[in-house]
Structure formats: structure tokens, C-alpha cells
């Protein structure tokens, strides 16, 4: 297969952008990626656009979003398609971009993910995401992703002795990173005293889906992120001299049962493990080779469970790693250097693209003060769709010096 690199990255702030138009928000991130790639004037070299979005049709009453973005960015006649894979739409779109280039069909692709979720009420946003659950056996009851997050957290606590304080420590670590990320939605510092140890902690950190509390869940965010991909062997690589290309060294994805209750052991996230195994095999890397990772912490428990499933830590041991600072920015295995979904935010269609944006930023060593991993070689992103029923893992590598 052809080698594919990321040659441009763009991002909007994540937060409340509900006064703006969805395609404008995506267009702003796309423009940032074109500028970062140094091809604003030569954008006709982009042959294919993939747009990641989950809810434009439902939340914003907009369809045909990929075609709309191409037109708004004056990029006709580039080919354009929308990719929807729930909250993993973003990484799926990156995967499609990779496949389009690796197949030899095109040389240059733009991947843009975006979502405007705050145009509806908090409950409507939660209800919209819950529409990915099984209609009859899950959604009907009023079950939501936070409800499954709560049940998963309780099962994990009961099996491995995880405590609410451990969950709080994950949030504290994520906020330490997100506070320094100019694109993050929630940039307020958060201390373990304020959200757990203090006697009044539970007033600000109340239960949402027991035993998950407010600080165990990501905010509802708007935003977009964009990447420009190019074949390493393409003559068009000559346009991309502004930044060092970052190689997409491995991609894997996998699915699991739609109903969570139908998994033999609901604590085992098969799709996460398989997606990661496929990405490791393609990159010819092992978990120990990965310098840092962006893991889909829509609920903080998922950061722990995913980090175990992808081989960073043995089962039930991730919390110990967090307690020991292993996943902190200066630890041996930094996780969610961007602040993760917890602090940076989770505009569902944008998230996977934003995770890869962060891998590139770190591998270029462009992280802000106090938020740069030391000498990173390989970064991994895990974008988790459904309650783990469609997961995409992507490894990016710095390449030879």
C-alpha cells in the first residue's frame, strides 16, 4: 500500500458555537488546515473531501453537508462524501481518506469533522446521541450513553476495586492538559480537593449516572477539526514544504454487538482491542512503542478501560498508573495530552479528527508550554463509537529524522 502522510492541520475552538452555521464552522477549520499546509491558493490540488458529521440532519436540519462544504470553500469540483459512524465518525473519515489515497485513486484528500450540538437543549443532545442505541431493546427505555457509562463504571468498580477518587484523578489530569490547550472547551483547572476530597465536593460534582459524576463526563460541545492528507510518493508532495509530514503508520477498526447486554463480558471492549491490534500490526509496532495517546474519554472510565484494552496496562491496573502519574504529560505514557473529550470537549463528528490533529501537533512538537510530550515518536488515537460497537484506532509516526 502507498504511504500516506498528514501535511496540514486545522481546528476551531471547541465550546458553544451555536450562533454559527455548521458548514461555516467546518469551513473555518478547513481553512486553517489549508493555511497550515501552505496551499490556500493551490486548493484545487485537493481531489477528495471527506466530511465527518453525526447529526447535521437531526440537530441542524442540514443534509448534503460534504457538497456544501466544498462549495463554501470554493473547492469544486473536488469529490465529496459524508461519513457517519456515530461518535467515531471523525476517525472513520480519516480512515476513508487514507483508503482513498492508499488505493491509488487520489493523491490529496481533505478530511473535516464537525458538529453543532448546542443548538438543542442538553437533554435533546443526549437523546440525539442515544438514537444510536438499539431502538427497541435500549433506546425506548430512556437509556442513554451516560446510563451505559454509569453501568460500565459500576461493573468495573465492583470487579477491580476502582474508587470514585481514582475517577476524579483522571478528570484532574485531563483538565491540567486542557487548561493549556487554546482550543479546549473547559479550560478551568480542577483539583481533586474541589471535586472529591472536600466535604462540599459533591455539591459541584453531583451524580449524573451513578457512580458517574459531572466531572466524569465530557461536556456537550460544538466545533470542527480538519486534516490534509497526501501520498508520500505523489509529485504533489512538493506543495507541502511548510511543515514536516507526519506519517499515518497504522489504522484499524472493528465492530461489536449493538446491544451492550449481548456481550459475553460487558467489561471487555472487543472492538477497542481488535481496532488497536489491527493498527499495531499495520504499523509493525507494539503498545510499548507508543509515546502518547488520545483516548476517547467521553466518560473518564473509558480512558482507563481503553488504555487497558489497547495494551498500555494490564486489566484493572490503569487507575494505579493514573495515581502514579504515568499518564500525566510528563509521565511515561501521557494520555489525553489535549485534555481529552473531558476537558477539550466532544463535538461528536469532530472528535476523531481532533484526536489526530493532536497526534500531529505533538509529533511536530508544537504543543503549548507545559503540554508537549518529550521526544514523541508514535502517537495513537482511539475513537469510540456507540457504546464500543464501532471503534477506530489510528497511529501516527514522526518518521525518519
Amino acid at each position: 500500500m502507498r504511504e500516506v502522510s498528514i501535511v496540514g492541520i486545522g481546528h476551531t475552538v471547541f465550546g458553544n458555537l451555536s450562533d454559527f452555521d455548521l458548514v461555516d464552522v467546518m469551513g473555518f477549520a478547513s481553512g486553517n488546515a489549508l493555511d497550515d499546509a501552505g496551499i490556500r491558493e493551490e486548493r484545487e490540488i485537493i481531489e477528495q473531501v471527506f466530511v465527518a458529521n453525526m447529526g447535521g440532519g437531526i440537530l441542524n436540519h442540514q443534509t448534503g453537508i460534504a457538497s456544501s462544504l466544498v462549495s463554501r470553500m470554493d473547492m469544486e469540483p473536488a469529490m465529496a462524501e459524508l461519513i457517519e459512524n456515530g461518535p467515531a465518525s471523525g476517525a472513520s473519515a480519516v480512515k476513508m481518506g487514507y483508503m482513498a489515497i492508499a488505493s491509488g485513486m487520489v493523491d490529496v484528500v481533505m478530511v473535516t469533522g464537525g458538529e453543532l450540538m448546542r443548538t438543542v437543549t442538553g437533554w435533546e443532545g443526549t437523546d440525539f446521541v442515544a438514537s444510536l442505541l438499539h431502538p427497541e431493546a435500549e433506546y425506548n427505555y430512556g437509556l442513554t450513553l451516560p446510563a451505559y457509562g454509569g453501568m460500565f463504571t459500576r461493573m468495573y468498580m465492583e470487579r477491580y476495586g476502582l474508587t470514585e477518587r481514582d475517577l476524579g484523578l483522571v478528570a484532574v489530569k485531563d483538565h491540567q492538559n486542557g487548561e493549556k490547550n487554546p482550543y479546549a472547551h473547559v479550560r478551568v483547572p480542577c483539583t481533586i480537593d474541589a471535586i472529591h476530597d472536600n466535604e462540599n465536593a459533591h455539591v459541584i460534582n453531583n451524580y449524573i449516572a451513578e457512580p458517574l459524576r459531572m466531572y466524569g463526563m465530557c461536556p456537550v460541545s460544538d466545533g470542527a477539526a480538519s486534516l490534509i492528507l497526501c501520498a508520500n510518493d505523489s509529485p504533489k508532495m512538493k506543495y507541502f514544504t511548510k511543515e514536516k509530514p507526519i506519517l499515518i503508520s497504522g489504522i484499524g477498526s472493528a465492530t461489536d454487538t449493538h446491544c451492550v447486554h449481548n456481550r459475553k463480558d460487558p467489561l471487555i471492549l472487543d472492538a477497542v482491542r481488535l481496532a488497536a491490534e489491527r493498527a499495531y500490526a499495520m504499523a509493525e509496532l507494539k503498545p510499548a512503542d507508543i509515546s502518547f495517546a488520545e483516548l476517547h474519554d467521553a466518560f473518564v472510565i473509558l480512558e482507563l478501560a481503553i488504555s487497558e484494552e489497547i495494551g498500555f496496562f494490564p486489566r484493572g491496573k490503569a487507575a494505579e498508573a493514573v495515581r502514579n502519574g504515568v499518564t500525566a504529560i510528563d509521565g511515561a505514557k501521557p494520555v489525553n495530552t489535549s485534555g481529552g473529550l473531558k476537558s477539550k470537549g466532544h463535538p461528536v463528528g469532530a472528535t476523531g479528527v481532533s484526536q489526530v490533529f493532536e497526534l500531529v501537533k505533538q509529533l511536530r512538537e508544537q504543543g503549548e508550554e507545559g503540554r508537549q510530550v518529550k521526544n514523541p515518536k508514535h502517537g495513537m488515537a482511539v475513537n469510540f463509537g456507540g457504546f464500543g460497537n464501532n471503534v477506530v484506532a489510528i497511529i501516527c509516526s514522526k518518521g525518519e529524522e
Binding site: M151, I208, N262
Partner: protein, 131 residues
């Protein structure tokens, strides 16, 4: 139990589906048997639809949560949800009506007519204490 169907009253039921070839039980209904590959035709036109078995009664609580973020219009402060396992090995998610749930406790799965968040009626599980 009184058979309300004789009076034209809908008796709420949740059904498991049984593969006609190998007998494996499923909930919710698949379109193909994971054990033997037998296909299901919900219309019953091309193939005979699978037999159904009413699912309720004794079960064990595997996981539960109390959810405080509820749709507008809900009067209660929270809703409880759980995942249970039936003695035949099938599992289901549903609403939980137990004040002090405890993982592993024995429960009774009953079926009630309830509304989903869009106001649409459906027959759904309520897991309660054994009487």
C-alpha cells in the same frame, strides 16, 4: 393471571425469538442465527417467521445505574436502569424499580406498557423485587 386478550385488551409482552433450525434463543430479534445461519423473515412471506417465547420472571441483576439527567417533563428526580440475566442465559436492559439495588440480587422481570422519550408506547421490562 387473567387473560385480557379475550377482552381485546393488549397484554404487554416482550418476546425472545427462537431459531427454527437449531433452537437458539435471541433477544432482541436478529435477522440471522449466529449459531447456524438460519434467516428470519419478519413478514413471514418468504420464510415462516420464528417462534416467539414470552420473556419475563426470575432474573439476576448484572449492572445498574441511577440516572439524574432526564428529559424535560419528567416529574421524578431520577430513573433507575439495569441489565439482567434470565435463567435461560438471555439478557436484557430495562427500567429498575428497586430502592436499594445490589449487583447479583434476584429480581422479577415484569412487562408494562410505557412511553419512550418521543411519547410512543411500547412494551418494556420493569425489574422489581421478587414477591
Amino acid at each position: 393471571m387473567i387473560d385480557f386478550s379475550a377482552y381485546g385488551v393488549h397484554t404487554p409482552e416482550v418476546y425472545a425469538h427462537k431459531c427454527p433450525s437449531c433452537g437458539k434463543l435471541f433477544y432482541p430479534a436478529p435477522m440471522i442465527c449466529s449459531d447456524c445461519g438460519e434467516r428470519r423473515d419478519p413478514s413471514g412471506i418468504i420464510f415462516k417467521d420464528w417462534d416467539t417465547i414470552s420473556l419475563s420472571g426470575e432474573c439476576t441483576l448484572l449492572a445498574w445505574t441511577r440516572v439524574y439527567a432526564l428529559p424535560e417533563g419528567y416529574e421524578m428526580q431520577y430513573l433507575l436502569f439495569g441489565i439482567v440475566e434470565f435463567p435461560n442465559g438471555l439478557r436484557a436492559s430495562g427500567r429498575l424499580k428497586v430502592d436499594q439495588p445490589d449487583t447479583g440480587m434476584k429480581l422479577n422481570a415484569t412487562v408494562e406498557i410505557m412511553d419512550n422519550s418521543k411519547g410512543k408506547e411500547f412494551d418494556g421490562f420493569v425489574f422489581e423485587l421478587m414477591v
